[in-house]
């Protein structure tokens, strides 16, 4: 049963109150009806309240927009998702392994299965658009996490490479092309690429939980603009995003276009929603092209989250329900409120934001294979036995390459939490781990020293062969 607009508003009010976040804005498409709701304060410095048209940084949801754009090039025959990247951008080497780099395709970028260890890497770069090129030398030295085409591990930098391919074949930037091929055909008025445009209208700013249940406004509005393609520049509204999502539900047709105006062909829209690579947890979740998918009992939902300094955005479509949802919470701890929202709105599973089910703790599982140090370019994961003998202690140590992350209150914090086994290859945190919600760690590639890979926060890290510090 759909939530009526007033029910949606009540739910949003309840969620904001329950989680103590500054505010939230939501738009839903259910039962053929659009509803929006807004609650709380959009800017803790000025006190401006959230309104239905408050703009916000959409973060990584950008990847679904960029995928949509890439598919228009596939349709016109100028881009083949399965040709090697080097066919379009011969000078780009994605990853230190030259032979592997020559086999990588745009599909590997769009479904995060390229296996290159670069996710979350920031380079001291110029602003967009020139700054994108500043990433090239660094990514040519990136180590390998996995062979390509095997499993998905979230990789932001793959999208920077995708934009470079787009630039080489079109001579234009992603911002310009998206404006022309997606934003204008959809008639969107409040989706913009720079703070200088966004400031003309109501715009939210992020916040971070501080002491005593309060939130502090973010000291910095956005992440570096060179990361435009992975998702740091687009400011949009829930209404604009909902129109974009409805286009996807309509398999590419412009919604309310009164005819057959299209952004994408039906085949392209469907291709984006066809699973192309699973994540390490198994076939029930992974990626289509751009879209994350979750599957349960034959039902699939497609979604993406978006992070910004002190903000969490979210977008979801459930084709089985003709349902779409666009939301934003202006707190770094925004995932639990968004999980509650999805629970309230989505009539049946799977909910991509459902916290891991702790279920039965497996006391028979040997902890030894989990223990040790794992690493990816921007994070080290250290797992040691818990001092009180109950499960393990997980330490997540950020390894920022430059200080761009250090501006934010939580970005260089070491996170530590207890975790217990719920399966031979799975640990689940006890109590809040990431951004206020529980998290699962999945292990794979058993070896003589233990598991070689750990997967958490949608990202793989590989064992480094050093014993963890005790």
């Amino acid at each position: 049963m759909s939530l009526s607009p007033s029910e949606l508003q009540k739910e949003v009010d309840r969620i904001v109150e329950k989680h103590g976040v500054p505010g939230m804005v939501v738009a839903t498409w259910q039962g053929g009806v659009r509803a929006t709701a807004a609650a709380g304060v959009a800017n803790l410095n000025t006190g401006q309240p959230f309104a239905a048209d408050t703009g916000y940084l959409t973060g990584s949801i950008t990847k679904v927009w960029l995928s949509t754009l890439l598919m228009t090039f596939v349709e016109e025959g100028t881009l083949d998702l399965d040709l090697p990247l080097v066919a379009y951008a011969p000078e780009v080497q994605f990853g230190a392994d030259v032979e592997v780099a020559k086999t990588l395709t745009v599909r590997h970028l769009m479904n995060h299965s390229n296996g290159v260890d670069t996710s979350d890497l920031f380079v001291d770069s110029r602003e967009y658009p020139d700054g994108v090129e500043d990433y090239l030398p660094r990514i040519a030295a990136a180590p390998k996490l996995t062979e390509p085409g095997v499993v998905s591990s979230y990789n932001n930098i793959g999208w920077i490479v995708a934009e470079i391919v787009l630039r080489r074949l079109s001579g234009r930037t992603f911002h310009e092309l998206l404006q022309e091929r997606v934003i204008e055909p959809l008639g969107l008025r409040r989706t913009v690429f720079s703070p200088r445009e966004a400031i003309l209208h109501r715009t939210a700013i992020g916040s971070f939980p501080a002491a005593a249940g309060r939130h502090e406004p973010t000291p910095q509005f956005m992440y570096p603009s060179a990361w435009a393609a992975p998702g740091t520049t687009i400011v949009t509204t829930v209404d604009d995003t909902l129109t974009f999502l409805r286009m996807h539900l309509a398999d590419g047709l412009v919604p309310d276009g009164g005819g057959d105006a299209r952004v994408l062909s039906a085949a392209s829209a469907q291709a984006m929603r066809t699973p192309t690579s699973a994540d390490p947890t198994g076939p029930a979740s992974g990626f289509g092209l751009g879209w994350m998918y979750n599957e349960q009992d034959g039902r699939r939902v497609f979604s993406h989250g978006g992070g910004s300094p002190g903000g969490c955005a979210y977008a979801l479509v459930s084709p089985d329900d003709d349902l779409a949802l666009a939301a934003f919470v202006n707190s770094i701890a925004g995932m639990p409120p968004l999980a509650d929202l999805v629970d309230a709105v989505l009539p049946a599973g799977p909910s991509p934001l459902a916290p891991p089910v702790i279920g039965a703790v497996r006391t028979d599982v040997d902890l030894a294979p989990f223990l040790g140090r794992y690493q990816r370019v921007t994070q080290r994961v250290e797992i040691v036995p818990s001092p009180d003998g109950d499960g393990v202690l997980v330490r997540l140590v950020p390894l920022p390459d430059d200080l761009v992350g250090a501006t934010f209150p939580t970005m260089t914090d070491v996170k530590e939490f207890r975790a217990v086994p719920t399966a031979e290859d799975t640990l689940v945190s006890h109590g809040p781990a990431f951004a206020g919600s529980a998290t699962a760690l999945h292990f794979s590639e058993p070896g003589p020293d233990g598991y070689e890979l750990v997967y958490l926060g949608k990202r793989l890290a590989r064992r480094t062969g050093e014993a963890a510090a005790r």
């Binding site: 703070p195 003309l200 109501r202 715009t203 509005f221």
Partner: protein, 473 residues
């Protein structure tokens, strides 16, 4: 001098009674005298969101930035890092002009007193942002000429200040937006000032407003700022009136900020207020370094104005009255409102009237003034109409980018409109609809048009708005 309560009342009265008629969407003014300060805000800071203008609302400083940049540059001169009379090229490696000899003749001093003559006034490339933005301006200069031999005349210089900004960048190793924070905002205690535009989101910031030419309604500006490439000239800084009070007080005290920090030596503070070039025209007062030195109400007011897309700022100090005045307004009547507020403050502070800088005597337009004048992309056509003079400004954009900027800067005022002028003295013309009192204010004076004669190699022309337009036909 009357007390600040009377001054506050007068400023409030101006805002409340004149805003609607002048089509001002929002405005703020502050005056600091001795240890006290009054501030009044009015109207809307953003017509799209309804946010009210408050006294702590930030706004785009525009060209008032030029006084800040001059101050920061002189700190480098004081440290011995920069020689004011050395060629600017020594400190800006990429600087050259179409005439390399002219480029070699431009000294650092000429960058900040508008005498360098570089002919690229309205240029403001937008595509490049961040650390390379200023360079994206200077890389156009090899195509640009000069309007006169450097050092010999006066023409408002955005390029000069972009180059001064580049000197700051080269000497500090920081991009302009961070260099100005380190060399100016922090020492002066300008706590809410920022050169980093994305930070404007984090607090109350005003956006411009214009009058819709068809409906007469006030609308929010379609664009917030001009390109970052013009940062040195004033396209990026966002401040509050209290930031300007701190900056002004620093100058009044001979270089010590209200927080006690020594920002600049008294010697250099005084040098900024000492004439370095005098056009000898009422619309172009003597130029110090950075400051325009306006004679007004029996005193001299070092002053600067500023423009942003659909917003205007105004900032001056009255050293003889220990006062700082700062204002900002949006909407069709934004320049006039700034003048009204400053005139009100100057009159209250000095006890004297602000009057037109000339004795207005109706004078028929001279035949020889008819013709065409041009500087960079601005072409002015002057035609006689009986005794009156009709001036039509045409903008021939340098490129698409420039065209878009012009549209954004003064929305609703882009078609070339013939404007009638009347002769008010030999060789001096004022807008026909301006009464004498309007000519007394800082912007009002700038609007006077002078016909200037040829002098050696320099052609006859018009001088208005601090700019020289040589006669081309």
């Amino acid at each position: 001098m009357s007390d600040l309560g009377t001054l506050r009342d007068r400023l409030t009265h101006v805002l409340e009674t004149r805003s609607a008629e002048l089509k001002v969407a929002g405005a703020v003014v502050a005056v600091s005298v001795g240890g006290e300060r009054v501030a009044v805000a009015h109207g809307s800071a953003n017509l799209n969101t309804g946010q009210p203008f408050t006294t702590d609302t930030g706004f785009l400083l525009g060209s008032v930035t030029k006084v800040l940049v001059t101050t920061a540059l002189l700190r480098l001169v004081e440290r011995g890092a920069v020689d004011l009379d050395a060629p600017a090229r020594r400190y800006v490696p990429e600087f050259t002009l179409a005439d390399p000899d002219a480029a070699a003749a431009v000294t650092v001093r000429m960058l900040v007193n508008h005498t360098n003559g570089i002919d690229s006034d309205g240029l403001c490339p937008t595509p490049v942002r961040g650390r390379d933005a200023s360079r994206s301006y200077t890389e156009h200069l090899p195509r640009m000429g000069v309007l006169f031999e450097p050092g010999t005349y006066l023409h408002y210089t955005n390029p000069g200040f972009v180059l001064a900004g580049r000197i700051l960048e080269e000497q500090t190793g920081l991009p302009f937006e961070l260099a100005i924070e380190r060399e100016l905002f922090e020492p002066c205690g300008m706590a809410d000032a920022t050169g980093v535009q994305t930070q404007a989101f984090l607090r109350r910031t005003a956006i411009g407003a214009y009058t819709d030419p068809e409906t007469g309604a006030l609308r929010a500006t379609p664009r917030f700022t001009l390109g970052e490439s013009l940062a040195g000239g004033g396209s990026t800084l966002i401040v509050t009136v209290d930031d300007l009070m701190a900056f002004g007080r620093m100058h009044l005290s001979g270089g010590i900020a209200p927080n006690g920090a020594r920002v600049l030596s008294t010697e250099w503070v005084d040098a900024m207020r000492t004439p370095t070039f005098d056009l000898g025209l009422p619309q172009g007062p003597p130029m110090g370094l950075g400051w325009w030195l306006f004679p007004v109400a029996g005193t001299t007011a070092p002053w600067h104005g500023g423009g942003s897309p659909n917003g205007v700022s105004s900032f001056g100090i009255l050293p003889e009255h220990d006062a700082v005045i700062a204002s900002f307004a949006t909407g069709g009547g934004r320049a006039v409102m700034n003048d009204l507020l400053h005139v009100a403050a100057v009159e209250e502070l000095t006890g004297r009237s602000v009057t037109a800088p000339i004795d207005v005597t109706p004078t028929p337009a001279h035949d020889a003034v008819a013709g065409e004048y041009r500087a960079f992309q601005t072409r002015i056509v002057a035609e006689k109409d009986g005794d009156a003079l009709v001036l039509t400004r045409h903008s021939e954009p340098y490129d698409e980018d420039h065209a878009a900027q012009s549209l954004a800067y003064a929305t609703g005022m882009t078609d070339p409109v013939p404007l009638p002028y009347r002769g008010v003295a030999p060789g001096q013309y004022a807008p026909a609809d301006a009464d004498e009192s309007a000519l007394g204010g800082f912007y009002g004076r700038m609007g006077l048009v002078a016909a200037v004669p040829a002098d050696g190699a320099r052609r006859a022309g018009l001088h208005t708005g601090f700019r020289y337009y040589p006669k081309t036909a």
